[in-house]
């Protein structure tokens, strides 16, 4: 009797302990804090949010409205990076003016280059426009090549997958979910890519832009950049360059001026007035304009601008 009673008690105790352990384990899972992700530009933040869902908290240092090479930093970014689990950047020196110093001051040992918390998406890009000669007489050149590869949706798909893989590495328990979310977003981009290509196919679009931001977009969609308003990257145009550009546009019958949204309207408007070309202001990052709410809508807006 006593033995039976003690066996029952022991069984109830074991069951209770097991239930308690399961409860604690589940609570642990439920209350696991979201991964804190900091990205340099909002396109990467969009990818991270889509892949991570409510398991990530994402902050983008750039808002998308500013020149990506001159992001105005907030002091609170240091505190955010200090407690972050992952920092994602475009690389190819796009963030060289601020990211290294910011990461150094934040002193988050998990986010240093080479660690799991540091993801440089530019490392696997076959960069276009790598300068044959490095000389600042050529303007603000990027030694590693053109960093604006976010405007190629195929690169976007690669970035989404890479972010999914890195989130899975940081939180293996959610790897299946991260990979599924990444695959879903990649498929969405693939579906849109077909329609974007169809809209630009055979148009023979020739244009000038303010800065050489469209190299990868050109390659993907077959449009052709014939010049830039800046005489050299990062150098504002002077009267002589504007005159030469007007003559060039008239001679070569270039009918489209594509101005990245954060540049001044002054020179593009003058060029449009003197050449009769159509002037469009476009987003080249998520958040740059009201319609560029996420990557897909940003690319929609961009493709629409090239069909005008």
């Amino acid at each position: 009797m006593n033995s039976h009673s003690s066996c029952g008690l022991s069984l109830r105790l074991k069951t209770g302990v097991t239930a308690l352990l399961l409860f604690v384990f589940q609570m642990g899972l439920v209350s696991a804090a979201p991964l804190k992700v900091v990205t340099s530009v909002p396109d990467l933040a969009d990818f991270a949010r889509r892949v991570g869902g409510n398991l990530v908290e994402v902050l983008s240092l750039a808002s998308g409205k500013e020149n990506p090479h001159a992001v105005a930093l907030k002091p609170s970014y240091i505190a955010k990076i200090r407690s972050a689990d992952l920092f994602i950047q475009m690389g190819l020196d796009m963030e060289h003016a601020y990211a290294p110093a910011l990461l150094a001051e934040a002193r988050n040992l998990r986010l240093q280059p080479g660690k799991e918390g540091f993801l440089d998406l530019g490392e696997d890009v076959q960069a276009l426009g790598v300068p044959a000669v490095l000389d600042r007489a050529g303007g603000d050149v990027h030694p590693k090549g053109n960093p604006h590869y976010n405007l190629d949706p195929v690169q976007a798909q690669r970035m989404v997958r890479a972010i999914g893989a890195r989130l899975a590495l940081l939180r293996p328990a959610e790897a299946v979910l991260f990979r599924a979310n990444a695959d879903a977003y990649v498929r969405e981009i693939e579906e849109r890519l077909g329609s974007w290509k169809a809209r630009l196919r055979g148009k023979g679009v020739r244009f000038i832009s303010y800065h050489p931001d469209f190299a990868y977009f050109e390659e993907r969609f077959g449009v052709r950049q014939e010049g830039t308003i800046e005489p050299k990257p990062g150098i504002d145009p002077g009267p002589a360059h504007i005159e030469a550009l007007v003559r060039d546009m008239q001679t070569r019958k270039i009918r489209l001026i594509v101005k990245e949204s954060f540049y001044s309207d002054r020179v593009p408007l003058e060029l449009a007035r003197r050449t009769g070309a159509v002037l469009v202001s476009v987003p080249i990052f998520v958040g740059a304009t009201p319609e560029a709410r996420d990557y897909l809508s940003m690319m929609d807006a961009l493709v629409s601008a090239f069909t005008k």
């Binding site: 002091p75 150094a104 002193r107 044959a132 050149v141 050489p212 010049g227 005489p231 504002d236």
Partner: protein
Amino acid sequence: MAATLGISASTSLAASPANPDLEVLRRQIDALRGDLENLQQQLNQQRLAQPYAGAPERSKKAEALASASAGAFSERVGSGQGNPRSTPAVGINPSISVAIDAVGSYSRKQDNVRLTPRDAEFVFQANIDPFARAYLVANAGSELAPAEKQGAFSEVTFGLEEAAIETTALPFGLQIKAGQFFADFTRLGKVHPHDLPFVDHPPVLEQLLGGESKGRGVELNWVPAVPYYIKLTFGAVDGLGAERSVLGGFDLNQGSASVFEAPETRGFGSLTYYGRGASVMELGESVFLHMGANLLRGRDEGTRTLWGADAKLVWRLSGGSEAELGGEVLSGRQSGTLTHPLDGSGTGGSQGKGGYVYVQYRIGKTWTPGLRFDFVRSRTLSETDSTGGAVADGLEATDETLRAVSGYLGCQISEYQRLRLQLTYAASSQAISGESKRDLQAFLQWTILLGSHQHALTP
């Protein structure tokens, strides 16, 4: 595609090596692979030759040169010419950069023109290993003293400005720095001259600190993991600032100052200890308030105590424009044995206090007009000669006040080049003798950067 073909072909061939049809297929695939590799190589060379530049036109000669250059480089790499072991070494060499700060100045009172490289700064920096980095700043330059006559090439000196090691992998947001460095003391004391918002260091920093907070010793700082930015610094150095003491003279009164004697030997008690706390409040999306407080006590030259506070309000506007209102107050006392360049020694004390306020507005990314107001008062408290009681000749008490207003206009030609014009009206007066002096000074500063020139982030 090529990789996929390669894998499937080798797998099937391994299964039946003697099949003649497969042998033909293998040759065809090898030929295709060779063609693909050739195409890939051509594509890579075209990409290397294509510049990332916005020039609407590029001459055929330039294209040919670029192509030839890229091709030659590819061949050298491909053929393994040169010393193969030298390539990785280039990648881990320290980064080298140069800042040249040329300043021309004119003093109306002295009718004196100075044309000088105020500062030519050479910076070498690299990580030592995963745990620390080091940097070295050597500079050649001359003092910014518009009222002093300058001999051609005679007053440019070459020296070591900073040579420091700092940790990069300490836990809890800690960092230790050791060597010779610009100590984290005051807002602008640690800023290199070419990075200042104006041409010169404010007189209060010149007077009480010698312009720059240079020190030799060790500094510990901490950025705690809290939701807002805060930085706490503590340091112990063998003297801080240039050779000046609180009694250092103004530019308007060169040569009239007494100086405190330094001890011949130095224990831990006679080092200089300092601390700074700094934080930034975000007042909305685009307004930021930077604040700092500083305290120093040392026995490097007499017994010196300095304390002060600083603030800066930054308001970011659309189009890259930015308004900034900043200021700093600093006060100090010093006492000990005094010597005068001309007349003997004695004991005494001095005190100085002052500050500056500036406001500037950056219009877009090019133009920055601004105004700065300065106030400094420096006076000896008491002085007696070594025989007791009497005031030594030349050690008479002083009570000097300087007021100045400066207007400046900066023009950022590119990210790496800036011009700045500054006009300064300064008036000093001696309360005891009743003597007063006035001067109008003009500065034209031309600053350029070569290489990737970056100092640490200082919010």
